[in-house]
Symmetry: C2
Subunit: 196 residues, 2 copies
């Protein structure tokens, strides 16, 4: 059944892989989805999935049609140092979402997670495994996982308030105004002194 | 048609008022819903709606089956002073939600707002009018509305992260641990020095 060795550049194959990945993430969640199983479902060799999409985090970002892979974005921003990471992250998040508009797939993922346990599990596992577990472990702080999940709560809330519920004046505020305000919160969660 | 002067204590009447209120909030939103129109739809005198539910904010809380009226809760906590208001508010919010459990109507409202524009508008108008516009105006700060909407974003994000997406370790953390951590964020949004 498996058609191994298909040529890269076949956009039908690429789409078949993404469709299989989307189905697997939705049905089995992030953790239980493997590149091997996605490849089998799409009828291609696992090497081709790696060739097109790199690892599982990139495959997830592509399947969810995210304009960036959150784990990669965080890693790149951390390369510039931990100082000012919070404001830089919020600045980029707002830039991406402001550009994407209301019916961005990223908001779709957040909306789905709000109402569908399978989508919530997928988001939770992706955040825990890739974002918190891999990218954010580079921040050298005590209680790192708690800090990261607090930061995730503020980012999710910002997206909900600005793009979904659209609470004013936050919804219409310039991102240049918001990035330092909310960024300082993230910075404190990541590196600040926490109450005991 | 209107059956005026029905006896207080008639639980059928009370339910009819709440059903009419729920329908009107959902269809017309918070701002466009009036006590008078709800009374007419329920076939009772407006005075009876006031008798059972006080003002529109109380009617909304009752119709949404909220265990507390958010505007009243905030007002009561502000009576104890602005110092420490952030941690006190988060402490109470977590206490209420932890007790309510997963299928609380409050979470239902948040889930609906995530996927349904009518529900989002209702939540937005209620937050703007009652919570931000009435309770939080008592905080004497510059850029008060922006501060309040930032605080709303962190509260919504905390609820999403802890109860809906359930990101660990935030989802299982003691509320005694979380209240000062997240409360400090709210306190800064409300009364802290904001970047220019």
């Amino acid at each position: 059944m498996a058609r191994t060795g298909r040529r890269p550049g076949d956009s039908g194959t690429r789409e078949a892989i993404l469709a299989a990945a989307r189905a697997s993430f939705a049905q089995r969640g992030y953790d239980a989805t493997s590149i091997r199983a996605v490849a089998a479902a799409a009828g291609v060799d696992p090497a081709l999935v790696h060739h097109y999409h790199g690892g599982k985090a990139e495959l997830f970002a592509a399947a969810m049609r995210l304009p960036v892979n959150p784990a990669e974005l965080i890693a790149a921003l951390l390369d510039e140092g931990v100082d000012g990471f919070g404001p830089r992250l919020i600045g980029r998040v707002l830039e991406i979402w402001d550009t994407e508009g209301d019916d961005s797939p990223l908001l779709g993922l957040l909306r789905s997670a709000a109402t569908n346990e399978a989508a919530a599990a997928m988001l939770r596992e992706f955040l825990a495994g890739e974002v918190i577990g891999k990218a954010l472990v580079r921040i050298d702080s005590d209680r790192r996982e708690l800090r990261a999940s607090l930061a995730a709560s503020q980012v999710m809330g910002l997206l909900m308030a600005r793009y979904v519920v659209r609470i004013e004046p936050l919804a219409s505020a310039d991102r240049e105004t918001l990035a330092p305000l909310v960024g300082e919160t993230l910075q404190r969660y990541f590196t600040g002194e926490l109450p005991a």
